[in-house]
């Protein structure tokens, strides 16, 4: 029992958990938002009608879990290491949109996504350093 606890307390495992929770919450939010989508109502721009979807509540739960594990990660791993690694979610989200949500992603959009990801890979470290000082 003790060893299993220390295994779960591994900050790298928590980092992976945090990333997976962010990914799952984004997909659930999209599913939930589409479920209740009401583009004709002006109120739906506020997103509040999203609360009527159970999927949105699951997503909120996952956001909280990811936030808690991220705070734990930051206790043990420097932001300049943890933040660039956490950006892997930017690669996983579009791929999951394509696989799980069946979104049709045009060549132009893939190119744009690729540029954003390369740019993020370049800036992740300097930005983490800036954020530490802010």
């Amino acid at each position: 029992m003790r060893e299993r606890r220390s295994g779960f307390a591994n900050p790298w495992l928590q980092l992976a958990l945090s990333v997976l929770c962010v990914l799952a919450s984004e997909l659930l939010l999209k599913r939930g938002a589409s479920e209740v989508a009401d583009p004709n109502s002006a109120l739906s721009w506020t997103g509040i009608n999203g609360l009527t979807s159970a999927l949105v509540w699951w997503a909120i739960l996952l956001v909280i879990v990811s936030f808690a594990s991220w705070l734990y990660v930051l206790k043990y791993i420097p932001l300049t290491v943890a933040f660039p690694l956490s950006r892997v979610v930017d690669v996983l989200v579009p791929i999951s949109c394509w696989i799980f949500l069946g979104e049709i992603i045009s060549v132009r959009r893939w190119c744009g996504i690729a540029l954003v990801i390369i740019g993020l890979a370049l800036v992740a470290k300097p930005v983490a350093r800036l954020e530490e000082k802010l």
Binding site: E26, L27, L29, K30, G32, A33, S34, V36, A37, D38, P39, S44, W45, T46, G47, I48, G50, V56, V63, L71, D90, V93, P94, C97, W98, L101, E103, I105, S106, R108, R109, C111, G112, I113, A114, L115, V116, I117, I118, G119, L120, A121, L122, V123, A124, P126, V127, L130, E131, K133, L134
Partner: protein
């Protein structure tokens, strides 16, 4: 994309980044001695409020757009952070940061045209 959508996307990003900075300062100030509890609570409250606003705006946007369309815009949040850092901390922005920012901007423009 309509102007309203663009404004909401940027507003969601700005409130998210501002919320994060508030939360970070609230957490940090808990470790400082001699700080009043009320100022921690104010920062925490402001952070949570801003994050909540960002969450609902995103939820509204997701009702209208693909996730693969909206998600790349989050790359702009690192640009907002660098701008804030440059303004507040008078940081010199490195070449690496500048090139990265240009790539992200170009990528977001491509996505927004798709």
């Amino acid at each position: 994309m309509t102007l309203l959508a663009l404004v909401l996307i940027l507003l969601a990003l700005l409130t998210f980044v501002a919320g994060q900075i508030f939360l970070k300062h609230a957490m940090e100030s808990t470790t400082q001695a001699g700080l009043q509890k009320s100022s921690v609570a104010v920062r925490l409250g402001a952070g949570i409020l801003l994050m909540t606003i960002s969450f609902f705006i995103t939820l509204g946007l997701l009702q209208r757009f693909d996730l693969s369309y909206l998600y790349p815009f989050q790359g702009l949040s690192v640009i907002i952070i660098s701008l804030i850092a440059a303004l507040i901390l008078k940081e010199k922005l490195s070449w690496r940061l500048m090139i990265g920012v240009l790539l992200i901007t170009a990528g977001v423009v491509l996505v927004s045209m798709s």
